[in-house]
């Protein structure tokens, strides 16, 4: 099973994202409600893939990306955000995220990214 982390301070957002995952994707999902928890889960090896919200208390998504850059960044980080301005997209790609998905996340938006990186067949 692929360990993945869903990091978002909103319960609704965590639920909506979980619902958008491929139903037959063989994953072990851990949840983080702030950036610090997300980073801790990464360090425990629970984040081969991390879905990361940008606006969170106690370390934002940007902070998490910065911190990951100083570690090995052994994770595919997909930023999930309501801020869909082109500049916001460019900033997170610069920080090492593999993709940027606009909220609300749809399976149609998610699938091509998972396939491109060989995370889901």
């Amino acid at each position: 099973m692929l360990p993945i982390v869903i990091a978002d301070d909103s319960l609704l957002a965590r639920k909506l994202l979980t619902k958008a995952l491929p139903p037959d994707w063989d994953v072990d999902v851990s949840y983080a409600t702030n950036g610090r928890e997300a980073l801790a889960l990464y360090r425990e090896g629970k984040a081969s893939v991390m879905f990361l919200d940008l606006t969170m208390p106690d370390m934002t998504g940007y902070d998490v990306l910065e911190a990951l850059r100083h570690e090995e960044l052994n994770s595919f980080v997909i930023v999930v955000s309501a801020d869909v301005q082109p500049l916001a997209r460019a900033r997170v790609r610069e920080l090492g995220a593999i993709a940027f998905i606009a909220k609300p996340v749809t399976p149609e938006a998610l699938l091509p990214i998972l396939k491109e990186y060989g995370l889901y067949a």
Binding site: L11, T55, A82, D83, Q85, K103, P104
Partner: protein
């Protein structure tokens, strides 16, 4: 009718819904102004109407006079959308838009029209998106300028809202590299708060 209130899950859901709506509105504003918009964390509160001005002052940090535009929306969830900016910041907005506003020979009319356009864009995009996520399609009244040099107490005159309690949702949009910031405030009365509670519960239980 019980005292209007939100559970923690309902408040969280409305905040996330507002966050998403704000993102969509910001994209449209960014396109209009060709600027990057910094987003805020949406704030959701149930307040005494008599306390609305004080709450807004605390949320926005605005002590100066403001320009305010008001637009009503109706569905079973209904209320008022207000767009508020510091009076002295409108000129910064105008400076960004070279065409067609600044070519107007009537500068005052240009500022007023731009403020109305921005307010209408933010209010309709945000309110539509929030209610759409809750399965509602609102009808809007025409936006109207409340005033261009008002205090927040003027904006929330006791007579304006014939309610006791109001649900207040605030999001704001800051233009990067300027000090311009527009605050969008949605106000909804008791009855709408109950419909909002039901709509949020329905959404949460569908997941």
């Amino acid at each position: 009718m019980p005292e209007p209130a939100f559970t923690e899950d309902q408040r969280d859901a409305l905040q996330e819904i507002a966050n998403l709506a704000m993102g969509q509105a910001a994209t449209r504003l960014a396109r209009l102004l060709e600027s990057f918009i910094e987003l805020s964390v949406p704030r959701v509160r149930v307040v005494d109407v008599s306390d609305a001005a004080r709450t807004l002052r605390e949320m926005t940090g605005i002590d100066e006079t403001v320009s305010a535009v008001r637009q009503g929306f109706r569905s079973d969830i209904k209320g008022e959308a207000l767009v508020i900016c510091r009076s002295d910041s409108i000129a910064q907005l105008c400076a960004l838009v070279s065409d067609p506003y600044s070519r107007s020979s009537y500068e005052a009319i240009g500022e007023r029209e731009l403020m109305l356009d921005v307010a209408n864009l933010l209010a309709s995009a945000c309110v539509s998106s929030i209610l759409d996520q809750l399965g509602r399609t609102p009808v809007f009244s025409a936006p109207g300028v409340l005033g261009e040099a008002l205090t927040l107490d003027d904006v929330f005159q006791p007579g304006m809202l014939q309610w006791r309690k109001a649900l207040l949702v605030e999001v704001n949009f800051a233009l990067e590299t300027t000090s311009f910031r527009a605050h969008l405030v949605m106000l909804m009365a008791e009855e709408s708060i109950h419909h909002m509670n039901e709509a949020l519960d329905a959404l949460l239980s569908s997941l």
